[in-house]
């Protein structure tokens, strides 16, 4: 079924986050055939797991809804979820790609009524909240999920829970016999919009992410602030559920560090400045945010945002990379140790909660990619030697949402050029 639409006029976009959706749509709206392959059960990627965007502080649901509407209305885009690229062979204009599709155990009949979820007892860590809470093992990835279709976790297939989900479904959508499928397609160009993942904070040993409960990552903090998150939008700290009011943000947690990520992840300064405003939103004047930084890199037009946050009396700045975090055993507070570069005073400051502004690591780090792809020293995708494959969004460079969209549009145009070249070569032959 999928094989019939694919020719070497088709563009494959790998990754269905904001960049992948954009790249696919820009090409599709130019009349190109596009396959949008996404590894997880839903489009939207990490953007859909943010509470608000900077600098306008609007919710990602807005931008995603517009893109999802465009996808729904465009027959040129074929969305394949739970799909990974297993192999790419061939050359510019004439690639053969092998895609692996994992079983969802739920077919197109699903109406997202939720009866299977109610029938199932088993729970799994909630991927939409970075595992901070649990969901039933038959679940809708999140409210904005596309396709709006439930997923059954493989762990309950073959168990009474799996059968219960099947029995509860009134529209015969649960298919526990689904198997992993492999399909081969011909495509002319590939856009890699594989995105990023947070750097593993546990590797930053002195910060104790793995042993101090009240040290969390900036992405987990996004979920705490979000009304759809595990705490319903309250900034409750993990150790005792107490409301966190005095919150520290540690910049360059993993970035600009030869021992971790060499590059500046570029988004984290703005992300922390944004998150200080979540604290203000939640606690008003009683909230207290402290940003520990090496340099604040609010790039180009974001300087205004920084200037406004700087004026906020609930926010203070300490020019220092925190050396280590200790735990106050009595109250669970993390204690930050370091030396302030402005005056060289030694400090040991207690906070209710510490948010590590973790760096962006390309999602493809450690993944075997086609030999033709060129990566930079931090594993960001520069493109292919023959010029038929392109990196887009945060797979290509550490970018925020806005710049990821720009990068994806550019990559899409390059892919269209490859398709046009192929088509004209064929026409003249």
């Amino acid at each position: 079924m999928t094989a019939s639409i694919a020719t070497n006029q088709t563009i494959l976009v790998v990754g269905g986050g904001i960049a992948g959706m954009t790249a696919a749509l820009e090409a599709a709206e130019c009349g190109k055939q596009v396959i949008l392959a996404e590894k997880t059960p839903t489009l939207g990627g990490r953007t859909s797991l943010l509470y608000r965007y900077f600098p306008k502080m609007c919710h990602p649901t807005c931008g995603l809804e517009i893109n999802l509407k465009r996808i729904r209305g465009n027959p040129n885009v074929r969305v394949m979820t739970m799909t990974e690229v297993a192999a790419v062979s061939g050359t510019r204009g004439d690639y053969t790609v092998t895609l692996k599709i994992k079983p969802r155990f739920v077919n197109e009949n699903c109406t997202a009524c939720g009866d299977c979820g109610k029938a199932v007892n088993a729970e799994i860590p909630n991927p939409a909240n970075y595992g901070l809470d649990k969901v039933k093992a038959a679940y809708l990835p999140h409210g904005m999920a596309y396709p709006q279709r439930y997923v059954i976790d493989p762990s309950i297939v073959g168990t009474p829970d799996g059968e219960a989900a099947k029995a509860a479904c009134k529209v015969n959508a649960v298919d526990l016999g689904m198997q992993e499928e492999t399909v081969e397609l011909k495509v002319g160009s590939v856009v890699w919009a594989t995105g990023w993942r947070p750097y593993d904070a546990a590797k930053i040993q002195p910060y104790g992410y793995d042993r101090i409960p009240n040290v969390i990552t900036s992405l987990e903090f996004e979920r705490l602030a979000d009304v759809r998150g595990p705490t319903g939008g309250k900034l409750l700290r993990p150790s005792d559920g107490k409301e966190a009011k005095n919150i520290a943000f540690i910049q360059c947690a993993g970035s600009r560090d030869e021992n971790h990520l060499r590059h500046c992840s570029r988004i984290c300064c703005m992300a922390s400045l944004k998150q200080t405003q979540y604290v203000r939103e939640a606690c008003g004047d009683e909230g207290k945010s402290t940003v520990y930084y090496i340099d604040i890199r609010a790039i180009d037009r974001f300087e205004d945002f920084y200037a406004n946050v700087y004026k906020d009396p609930t926010v203070s700045f300490v020019k220092s990379k925190v050396a280590r975090i200790a735990l106050n055993e009595e109250n669970g507070n993390p204690i930050l140790h370091g030396v302030n570069t402005e005056g060289y005073q030694r400090y040991a400051t207690e906070h209710d909660l510490v948010v590590l502004a973790v760096g962006m690591e390309p999602e493809v780090t450690g993944v075997k990619l086609p030999d033709d792809l060129v990566l930079d020293s931090s594993n960001f995708i520069e493109g292919s030697k023959s010029g038929g494959m392109f990196g887009a969004g945060s797979a290509a460079s550490p970018l925020d949402v806005n710049r990821a969209v720009q990068s994806a549009t550019a990559a899409s145009l390059k892919a269209i050029q490859v398709i046009h070249k192929t088509a004209s070569t064929e026409a003249s032959a």
Partner: protein, 206 residues
Amino acid sequence: MTTANQNAAAKYKNNFLKEVEANVEDGHMVKMCMQCGVCAGSCPLGPHWEHSPQKIFMMIRAGKREEVLQSDSMWMCTSCYNCIVRCPRKLPITHIMHGLANYAHRLGLAPQGQPTRDIAKLFWNNIIKTGRVNELTFSLAMYFKDGFGQGIKNAMAMQGVGLGLMKAKRLNPLEILGGHSCKDKSGIHKMIAKAREIEDRRKGLA
């Protein structure tokens, strides 16, 4: 030594960073410091220093020659390597601190009576005599470095350990007569003299 000191200063005028780059082990890495402060916060002896490594590096770049070379900071380093492990720019901080200590010592600017420096001098003078460390004379020299009375007190306090070592044949009392040396003692002396000559020529110390 004073002439050497003046010569060294004149050569570089106000550019102390260049002087450090030329004469201090791994001194060329000082300019790579981005002043994040992780070394200062990670040092177990941090609160007991006059200047943290981060501050020392900034002082070098600011041309504060006397303050840096007279500082006791680099003598307080215990070589735990915490700073090197954590430095996001991979500066060999421990090595630079030892390099600075050595350079300050050679110029005669290092603080007088600084205990680490005293011990280092005793150790060096002890080991170059025979090519081997004479543990007995080295320990005694340490005990008596602050005067005869204090030396007796120190020796009395440590006599249990000394007797234990003797019983276990880890300490030979006859070593007090000069002790055993390495096979080619004069060869060692020549090597050290040559190394010193090369270093002096390179650093303009003479």
